[in-house]
């Protein structure tokens, strides 16, 4: 038995000295890594605290109490008004509308690509979709300005209240958002569909169902949680989109007058990000905090979206 020999004893002692030393470096590494990991928590806390603290400070000004109830944002007036409902409405309307357009398009595309498409179609489209998920938003905004806006100006002029401005507004913003968000939703939906185990497809096909029946009755329901997450993620992106949308909105701080109409989509209009982008850098006092408050509202909305998608994902059958 080797371990009983003197030799082995000596080598064991050097062994343990060595392990003691390496254990120390193990501990040091551990704490350095821990600090880095905690940093992520620190940053998100910082974001909430800095925006929340500065944003909520605006409510020290009694004029700001109509923030969520009025659409009148007029900080420069003699009796200033800080109603942000118009901005919020702009973000919500364009986001919802874009989502309504994107959802069926992306589900169909994802289904086709994961379940039916020949290899070469996938080889062509998947990289394309990936590139578009990382597409700089200013490029889409640039195209929006030089292609979409002139085209809409022509097409929408008859139904727009002002022919010269028909190309800008919620309509253009919605279409921009569709282009911005579609690739993300397609790509996440494809992940959700591929996450459905092959056994589900096999089970369905083995029962004598067609491909379409398999998709409709087996794959889509099985992937529903993942697909819902994809949509929520798309909404998160849409509501926070700034530059591309800002480039085609061109509104000031006011919602159009009068009852809501289709015309609202084809005239200069507003949303949260455009307000921040245009006015934050010059604003002071309550107004400045107001834009930070708008940022905080965006933060809360995206936070709620994240919570929602986590909740949905937690209910998903397949991860």
């Amino acid at each position: 038995m080797a371990a009983n020999s003197v030799n082995a004893q000596v080598s064991q002692d050097t062994r343990s000295a060595r392990t003691r030393r390496s254990r120390f470096s193990d501990k040091v590494a551990n704490s350095v890594f821990l600090i880095c990991a905690i940093l992520v928590v620190a940053i998100i806390f910082g974001v909430f605290i800095f925006l929340g603290f500065n944003g909520l400070k605006m409510f020290q000004d009694p004029a700001a109490k109509n923030f969520f109830t009025s659409t009148n944002w007029d900080p420069g007036a003699d009796s200033p008004s800080y109603g942000a409902l118009g901005f919020i409405l702009g973000s919500v309307v364009t986001t919802l509308l874009a989502t309504i357009i994107v959802t069926p398009l992306s589900f169909a595309t994802a289904l086709y690509l994961t379940e039916m498409a020949p290899k070469w179609v996938n080889a062509l489209l998947r990289p394309l979709i990936e590139i578009f998920t990382g597409m700089p938003s200013v490029i889409i905004g640039f195209l929006g300005l030089i292609v979409l806006v002139p085209w809409l100006t022509k097409v929408a002029a008859p139904i727009a209240p002002s022919a010269a401005n028909a190309g800008v507004g919620w309509g253009a913003a919605t279409l921009i958002l569709v282009v911005m968000v579609l690739p993300t939703v397609v790509s996440v939906s494809m992940d959700a569909l591929t996450a459905v185990p092959e056994s589900v497809r096999e089970a369905s096909l083995a029962l004598g169902s067609t491909r379409w029946q398999t998709m409709k009755s087996a794959i889509l329901p099985a992937a529903s949680a993942g697909l819902a997450t994809a949509v929520v993620l798309g909404m998160t992106r849409a509501i926070g989109e700034a530059l591309a949308v800002g480039m085609v909105l061109q509104g000031d701080t006011h919602l159009p007058n009068g009852p809501f109409s289709l015309g609202w989509f084809f005239q200069p209009n507003i949303n949260i990000t455009n307000a921040i982008l245009n006015y934050f850098s010059e604003a002071s006092g309550t107004e400045r905090n107001g834009y930070l408050m708008l940022g905080f509202v965006l933060l809360i909305i995206s936070f709620l979206f994240i919570c929602l998608s986590r909740y949905i994902a937690s209910r998903s059958v397949y991860k």
Binding site: S199, E202, A206, L207
Partner: protein, 273 residues
Amino acid sequence: MPLVSEAARHMGEFDPTKTLNTSAGTKVDVRHTNFFYGSKQALYDVSLPLRERQVTALIGPSGCGKSTFLRTLNRMNDLIPNTRIEGEALFDNFNIYDKKTDVVLLRQRIGMVFQRPNPFPKSIFENVAYGLKVQGKSQKFIQERVETSLRGAALWDEVKDRLNTSALGLSGGQQQRLCIARALAVEPEVLLMDEPCSALDPIATLKIEELITDLVKDYTIVIVTHNMQQAARVSHFTGFFLSGKLIEVAPTANLFERPRQKETEDYISGRFG
């Protein structure tokens, strides 16, 4: 002979040797089948008649091609790209392997149960009703057939009070019986089972084995298993695969007790695998 008699003693009431019918008709007649995954050949000249209302067991070491063979019978291998098949499998006057064969129809007539229970993430009822809905049956018909099928799969009593709860909440053995019920619901003529018990505990295994012995009264059954005792317990005929070749097929007792091939003997005496 120890293996089979052991098994028979253990199983008691359902001894397949009693229901063996060596002159049963051929439900599916597989002739000279070669199968390729890309350039890799997985089946070599396999010929095997599947007897009507009998259980045919397929045994052999891992990777010998049992599953591949089974999946040729309902063209499940079509799902794998770059596969190729040669030979023929006659079923009701047509060749299963034929390009023109309607696989949807084929799969409605030849059902399958998989190695790991794979219920849909839906309710128990919806699982069994799935194939019927595919066929567009009426609600009333479905209602009735779900019950019959669950009874047929010996699951009815255990689940009748919770038909609308998720199938994923069932135990492994119950899930596997649910999958069998699901396959039975569309009234296939042949039932293919790929190691249906390998993910199950002994008691659940026993239940499934009982069920098979019961189902064979109405169905032609092919079962893949890596458990020789299981083959001995439930099957009338056994085929032994090795490296993609069907070495030997014979009535089960004969194969285990008087194997004609050296390889079969080596395998069943545990020298490899």
